[in-house]
C-alpha cells in the first residue's frame, strides 16, 4: 500500500523530531511544531495507520510514536535529501585532515578521529584490502652474512619486505635465481591466489642448495603474503556512546562495546559490505540489531579499497552523516592518489 503525500510528510516530521530529541513523539507536538494545518486528532489517525503499516511503533499504550527500522529505510531510500556540506564545513574538514598526512595508518586513523568528533558517534577505518593486488616481482637480497631480505612488490606499488636469518650464507647468484624463479611463477597472480593455491608449497628445483634455500624462505614468504593481506581496523570515539540516550543503560552500553571486542567478526562484516556509501539499519545488521552502520569506501592509488564508517543508534542523522562520510572519502581518495610506494 502506498503512503499518501501527507503520510510521508508526517512520517518525515516524526523521524526528524525523534532523531532530534530521542523521545517518542506525540500527535500534539507534531501538529504544533510542523504546520500541517490539521488538528492533532487527524495526525493521530494518520499515525495509527502508519503504525498498522509498520512504520511506527509504540513503546507502550500511552506513549508517543517511534520510527521503526522500516521507516528509517524508507527515509534513507526515498525521503532524505543529501545535504551538501557548506564551504565552511568543507574547509574545516580539509584543514584538519591535511594536518596529518605523514604515514598511511596514521592518516586514516586521524580521519576516523575527526569523523567521530564531528558526528559524535563511534567511527572506524580499515586499511585497504590487497587480496586483489597482483604480484609484480619478488626479490631476495643478501644483507649480511646471516641475513637475507625478502621483498615482495605488488602491481599496486605496495612493497613489503621481511628479513630472515639463515644459517649458512648463499651467494647472490643463488638468491637471484630463486628470486627469478619465484617471480616467474607468481607474477600477475593475486596474493590471494598465491596463498590459496598449493603452488607455493610445490615449488622445487633440481639443484640441491636451491632446494634447501626454498625450504627456508617458504615460511617467511607465506607469512609476508599473509601480512600483506591483513587489514588493520582502527576504532575511535567509543566513549561517545555514553552521551547517547539509547546507551544510557549499562546493559545497552555493554552490548554495544562488545561488538568491538569481537574484532575479527566485525572486520569480516565490514569487508563484506558493498562499495560506495552503504547504510544498514537495525535489523539489517545481524547481531547488531540496535545499531545503524554507515560505511563508505576510499581508494588508494585509485585501486586498493579501504573502508571508513560510523556506527551508532538507529536514530541518527542519516542525511548529514552520509554526506560527511562521502566527503571524507573524496578527501581521502585525493590524498592517496599520488601516493608513493612506501609500504603501509
Amino acid at each position: 500500500m502506498k503512503l499518501s503525500e501527507r503520510q510521508l510528510q508526517i512520517l518525515q516530521a516524526i523521524i526528524y523530531d525523534y532523531v532530534e530529541n530521542a523521545e517518542p513523539v506525540g500527535s500534539r507536538s507534531i501538529a504544533k511544531k510542523y504546520d500541517f494545518g490539521v488538528s492533532p486528532a487527524t495526525i493521530r489517525n494518520e499515525m495509527s495507520d502508519l503504525e498498522d503499516m509498520g512504520y511506527l511503533t509504540h513503546p507502550h499504550t500511552s506513549a508517543g510514536r517511534v520510527p521503526s527500522d522500516k521507516a528509517y529505510r524508507l527515509y534513507v531510500d526515498d525521503l532524505m535529501q543529501k545535504r551538501s556540506l557548506s564551504a565552511k564545513e568543507k574547509r574545516f574538514i580539509n584543514e584538519r585532515l591535511a594536518a596529518n598526512r605523514d604515514e598511511f595508518d596514521q592518516t586514516i586513523r586521524h580521519a576516523a578521529k575527526l569523523l567521530s568528533e564531528i558526528t559524535q558517534l563511534t567511527s572506524f577505518v580499515m586499511t585497504p584490502t590487497t587480496n586483489q593486488d597482483t604480484i609484480s616481482f619478488v626479490k631476495l637480497l643478501p644483507a649480511d652474512e646471516e641475513t637475507v631480505i625478502l621483498m615482495i612488490v605488488g602491481d599496486s606499488g605496495r612493497i613489503m619486505n621481511t628479513s630472515l636469518r639463515i644459517d649458512n650464507s648463499y651467494s647472490k647468484d643463488v638468491l637471484d635465481i630463486l628470486s627469478k624463479n619465484i617471480t616467474v611463477n607468481y607474477k600477475g597472480r593475486t596474493l590471494d591466489e598465491v596463498l590459496q593455491s598449493e603452488i607455493v608449497k610445490e615449488a622445487s628445483s633440481d639443484i640441491e642448495t636451491l632446494n634447501s634455500l626454498i625450504g627456508k624462505v617458504r615460511p617467511t614468504f607465506i607469512k609476508t603474503l599473509e601480512d600483506m593481506l591483513d587489514v588493520n581496523l582502527y576504532m575511535e570515539g567509543m566513549t561517545n556512546i555514553f552521551d547517547i540516550p539509547e546507551y544510557s543503560s549499562i546493559d545497552k552500553a555493554k552490548a554495544f562495546l562488545e561488538i568491538f571486542s569481537k574484532r575479527e567478526e566485525f572486520t569480516r562484516k565490514i569487508l563484506e559490505r558493498g562499495d560506495g556509501v552503504v547504510v544498514t539499519i537495525g535489523d539489517e545488521n545481524d547481531s547488531m540489531e540496535d545499531c545503524s552502520l554507515i560505511t563508505a569506501t576510499y581508494h588508494v592509488d585509485g585501486k586498493l579499497v579501504g573502508k571508513i564508517g560510523v556506527i551508532g543508534p538507529t536514530r541518527m542523522k542519516y542525511d548529514e552523516i552520509t554526506s560527511i562520510i562521502e566527503y571524507f572519502t573524496k578527501n581521502l581518495n585525493e590524498t592517496f592518489k599520488l601516493t608513493d610506494g612506501k609500504d603501509k
Copy 2:
C-alpha cells in the same frame, strides 16, 4: 603509630571481605565470619581506631567500613602473601599460551586476552621498548631500478627495513659507501641518541651524488628509527568492567573507558613504571584515582623490555593477580628467550 596484631588481622579480614563482596563490611559480620573470639563491639572499637588512622572509611554514618587506598597499600606491602599457583593453574596457563606462538604481537596479545579472561579485569600488553637498543649496522640495498631498501639492524638482533623509491638509480658502490658512512657514524649508539642528536641532520659529504642520496634517504632513515622506537599497546577485556559493581554507573564506566581513549597518555604512564611487578593503588595513579594498576615486565632475548598488566578497581585480589602476572612474565620470558631476529 603501629598497628597491633589484632588490628592487622581485623584489617586483613575487612579487606578480604570487601574484596570478595564489594560491600561495606560491618563489625557484626566480621565478628561472626572470622573467629577473633571477641564481640562485635570490640571489633567496632578497633575499626573506629583504624578509621582514625586512615585505613578505613565510612560511606555514611550508618554504613559499614571500606578499606582506604592506604589500607590496600599496607596489605600489598606487608600483609598479603604471594599465592603460588597450583600445578593445575600453571598447566592451564602454559597450555593456553603455547597454543599461539606464531608471531610476536599475536603472541603477547593472546597473553593479554588470557590474562583478562583469568582475572576478569581489563588487561594490556606493550611491545618492548627499544630505545636502549643500539645500532649494529645500517645497510642500503638496491632492489630494482627505482627502489632501495634501507635496513637497520640493532644489537638486540631486531631488524627493520623499509623500502624507498628514488628516481634515478645509484650504483651499488655508492649505496655501499653511504651504508658504511652511516654505520660508522651511529654504530653503538642507542636509537634514542641517534634520533635526539642533531647528527642525523648534519651528515654530509664532499661527493655530489652522495649528498643527493643522503637527502633522499634521511627522511626514511629517521622515520624508520621512529618506527623502531614505537611501542604497540593492546588492550583486552574492556567490557569486563561492566560486570564490576564499581563501574555499574554510566559515569564511572565512561571515566574508566576514557582512560583508554587517551592511548598515548596511558602508554606513557605505563612506560614510566619500574621493572618487575609494580602495584599502584588509587591515588597513586594520577588521573586514574579509582583504579589500581598492576604491571610487570617481560623480556625478549633477555634484553628488550615489554610490559604486561591489568587495570581494575582498587578493590581487587592483589595477591592472586600479582602471582598470576608474575607467572605470565615467566612464561613469556621463556617463550621469547631464543627468539630469532625477525622484525616485530
